[in-house]
């Protein structure tokens, strides 16, 4: 309640003011006045209504989206592609988060372009003067750097500069560089797998992208309300290979050295455990670095030619033929064959590689001297149709089902050709006239090593978590028994003779009994028709230890220079590789047969 002024304090001025007000004519409510007020009220009400209509109806959709943009945020945690580790748990491939950085100088606010340029220059390894020029030239949307590492990005974020955008993305890192490129393949910048297990095991490696739209506070912090259960959880599963990267590294050194020694176009070594078909090592030379796949000049190195390229295996196929003949029952272990030096089949003369004629040869000697004539005679003991059926049975024209992509299928001429033209059987007897992949040959020899069972070569052991729990393992069907263990054991003894005193002496390893077979095949002449005289593929396949056969080592050299034979170029590689394998697998020295 306002207390009235004490009358004593009232000034004369106030009194006169009061008098003036009293003298004013009294405002009288007139109808027009009422109307004006009424119209004003109505009009403002109408305007408010119109505005409401505008906001709620015409601009509603736009406003809703804008509000959503401001109030919600898309939380998309970085879900890396699952890592790949080798047999011993060394990381082979893993994901990291990288950023593409955009700069918008118009939002720099308190900092000048020069200041920002000076701050950023050392972090992105660019000249600060050039950076400043960039900033001065453009107000927004300057692509500063691609594939910036997380650490550096965090350091830039810590500078608290306005107007810098970080667009996250994933990058696959292969810490071992080119060591396992032929097995892993690579993942390109668009996150597409290119070859190797990255392609075959895409379904196990690729994470399910998770994202959730969440509300955020005015301060920008996220409100976790509505986060689905298990959203934050990331599994720690990894794909484990059967490859031993230590062995791979040691073998790689050997292959590289021998490829350059013999001036070969390319080289290859496959080490396989014949018990289950797991590949311990698979080395190509030359190789590529999957971290910088764009630097590859010759695209041929991108493929794993151990399984993509067909070649004629040559004499390395002879032990398989002997096994077929023994299994077919047309040849007995004690049989002898006449090696006349040359044999004419269907009008085509076939002779031994050294043109020697050794007369009567046992099965062991046929192998020891790699006698083509002897092999032709062995193959001729079988009916062509029976022989062809056996070639089909051992899976020559099938895929090996190795878990790597782009495998080539073996090539064999049609059955009718084999039955009608005897030269086909004769050439197949010493490994020509058909083509298979190196991995196929390793698989065939694994049969000899494991007692006749056909195993599936593979490079992946399974999917495990950090506790070692199994989440997935390749389902291995019961291997088919193709050859009898008695025959494979006998053939290994024959192959041992090859290394002991035959064409494969260079593959000997002190302390270990090694069975092996050399192979020197002419390459098909360029332009088709016949074979080249100067271009060879030399190979050697070794199986050891003979007393307890387990490992198959195949080495192939493409076009070694000079007078190259499997026994002189590929066999020494196998000898060195066997030493490494024996050391890493800690094999005791071999014992003689009882």
């Amino acid at each position: 309640m306002v207390r009235p002024y004490p009358s004593r304090q009232r000034s004369s001025h106030q009194r006169s003011l009061a008098r003036q007000i009293a003298a004013l004519p009294e405002a009288k409510p007139t109808l027009s006045r009422l109307r004006i007020v009424w119209i004003m009220l109505l009009a403002s009400g109408g305007l408010l209504g119109l505005n409401l209509l505008r906001l709620q109806v015409f601009q509603a959709a736009d406003l809703v989206t804008r509000a959503k943009q401001q109030q919600t945020t898309l939380l998309k945690p970085f879900t890396p592609r699952r890592p790949v580790v080798d047999r011993n748990g060394n990381a082979i491939a893993m994901d990291e988060q990288v950023y593409t950085v955009f700069v918008h100088p118009r939002y720099f606010d308190k900092k000048s372009n020069q200041e920002v340029a000076n701050l950023l220059a050392p972090l992105v390894n660019q000249n600060s003067a050039e950076l400043q020029k960039k900033f001065d030239g453009n107000r927004t949307g300057i692509r500063l750097i691609d594939q910036l590492e997380e650490n550096t990005a965090q350091r830039i974020k810590d500078l608290l500069i306005d107007g810098i955008d970080f667009i996250p993305s994933s990058r696959r890192v292969y810490p071992q560089q080119d060591l396992l490129a032929n097995i892993t393949g690579y993942v390109d910048l668009e996150q597409k797998s290119q070859g190797g297990i990255e392609t075959t095991y895409e379904h196990l490696l690729k994470p399910r992208e998770k994202s959730v739209r969440l509300n955020k506070t005015g301060g920008g912090s996220i409100l976790p309300e509505g986060v689905p259960n298990g959203f934050v959880r990331q599994d720690d599963q990894h794909l484990q290979l059967t490859i031993d990267s230590r062995m791979q590294r040691a073998v790689q050194e050997i292959v590289d050295r021998q490829v350059s020694t013999f001036g070969a176009k390319r080289g290859l070594v496959i080490v396989m455990d014949s018990q289950d078909g797991s590949i311990l090592s698979m080395v190509n030379s030359p190789r590529f670095d999957p971290n910088e796949y764009w630097n590859v000049k010759d695209f041929a190195v991108l493929k794993n030619w151990g399984l993509t390229d067909l070649y004629e295996p040559g004499s390395t196929f002879k032990p398989i033929n002997v096994a077929i003949a023994l299994e077919a029952g047309t040849v007995q272990l004690g049989d002898y064959f006449n090696d006349s030096g040359t044999i004419v089949v269907g009008g085509w003369p076939i002779s031994n590689s050294d043109n020697a004629a050794r007369g009567s040869l046992s099965l062991t000697d046929v192998m020891r001297y790699s006698s083509n004539v002897g092999m032709v005679r062995i193959a001729q003991t079988m009916k062509p149709s029976v022989y062809y059926s056996w070639l089909e049975r051992i899976g020559l024209v099938q895929f090996t089902d190795v878990d790597l992509p782009f495998e080539a299928q073996g090539y064999l001429k049609p059955r009718q050709t084999y039955i009608t033209s005897p030269i086909e059987v004769a050439t197949t007897a010493f490994g020509q006239g058909f083509s298979i992949t190196p991995i196929q040959l390793a698989k065939l020899h694994a049969m000899l090593a494991n007692g006749g069972k056909m195993v599936t070569p593979h490079v992946v052991k399974g999917l495990y978590d950090s506790q070692g729990r199994t989440f997935w393992e390749p389902r291995q069907s019961m291997p088919k028994q193709i050859f009898s263990p008695k025959n494979t054991k006998a053939i290994l003894r024959m192959m041992e003779a090859v290394v002991d005193s035959g064409t494969g002496k260079a593959a000997q390893v002190p302390g270990f009994r090694v069975a092996g077979k050399t192979g020197t095949a002419q390459k098909a002449a360029e332009g088709g028709g016949g074979y080249s005289d100067s271009r060879f593929i030399t190979s050697f396949v070794g199986i050891f230890p003979v007393d307890n056969p387990r490992y198959v080592v195949l080495s192939v050299l493409d076009e070694p220079q000079g007078q190259a034979y499997g026994g002189t170029t590929a066999a020494p590689i196998v000898s060195e590789v066997i030493k490494v394998v024996a050391g890493i697998e800690q094999l005791p020295p071999s014992k003689p047969d009882p």
Partner: protein, 199 residues
């Protein structure tokens, strides 16, 4: 309260005074009534304060000199027990007050926790993010280093060689010794037969 003009105040006062006389003002003490006696007691001269229209029907109260009205009008204990429904209502009231207080308290706590926990979540989430990043970087760093060492340094320089069959040390198993004869060994006479007591 609006006094209706049809009811003249005198009647009201009469009623009041009559009730005052008949009942000892215990059950439902009316404030206006209790106030007026108190003011009377304080003043010591009650008659002057009573408006003229108040005409006491009964003879004027006994002189109150020397003692206050309050001490003279003692509240008598109500021996009649309250009805069951009333007691039940009173109990419900008490309980519901406690429940309401608890609910309000828990609502405040829950709200606070909801806000706080969200903050905590945000903080922990960013921490988890950092830890994951560190883990990735540590793993990458160690593998890169491993590769770098294996690739760059010449192992032979440090006396290191790749493990090979040359480095396997095999200790041949000792020849079998004839097993000591066990045929004529009867039970040891010195050995006590242990009989477990518990069985």
């Amino acid at each position: 309260m609006v006094r209706s003009p049809s009811r003249p105040p005198p009647r009201r006062t009469q009623q009041r005074s009559s009730s005052n006389a008949s009942q000892p003002l215990i059950d439902f003490p009316n404030q206006s009534m209790s106030r007026s006696p108190r003011s009377m007691g304080n003043n010591g001269n009650p008659v002057r304060r009573i408006p003229e229209f108040v005409v006491p029907r009964s003879p004027a109260p006994t002189p109150l000199k020397g003692r206050s009205l309050r001490s003279s009008l003692k509240a008598m204990p109500n021996r009649r027990p309250l009805p069951v429904w009333l007691r039940a209502l009173k109990k419900i009231e008490k309980v519901s007050i406690i429940v309401a207080l608890l609910l309000v308290g828990s609502a405040v706590v829950t709200y606070g926790w909801a806000v706080y926990s969200q903050q905590l979540w945000g903080k922990d989430y960013s921490r988890l993010d950092t830890l994951r990043r560190n883990e990735r970087q540590l793993l990458k760093g160690s593998e890169l280093m491993k590769n770098d060492i294996a690739r760059r340094t010449d192992p032979k320089q440090y006396g290191l060689v790749p493990r090979s069959s040359d480095h396997i040390v095999v200790i041949p198993s000792a020849p079998l010794r004839p097993a000591p004869s066990t045929r004529n060994l009867g039970p040891d006479p010195k050995a006590k037969l242990i009989t477990p007591i518990g069985y």
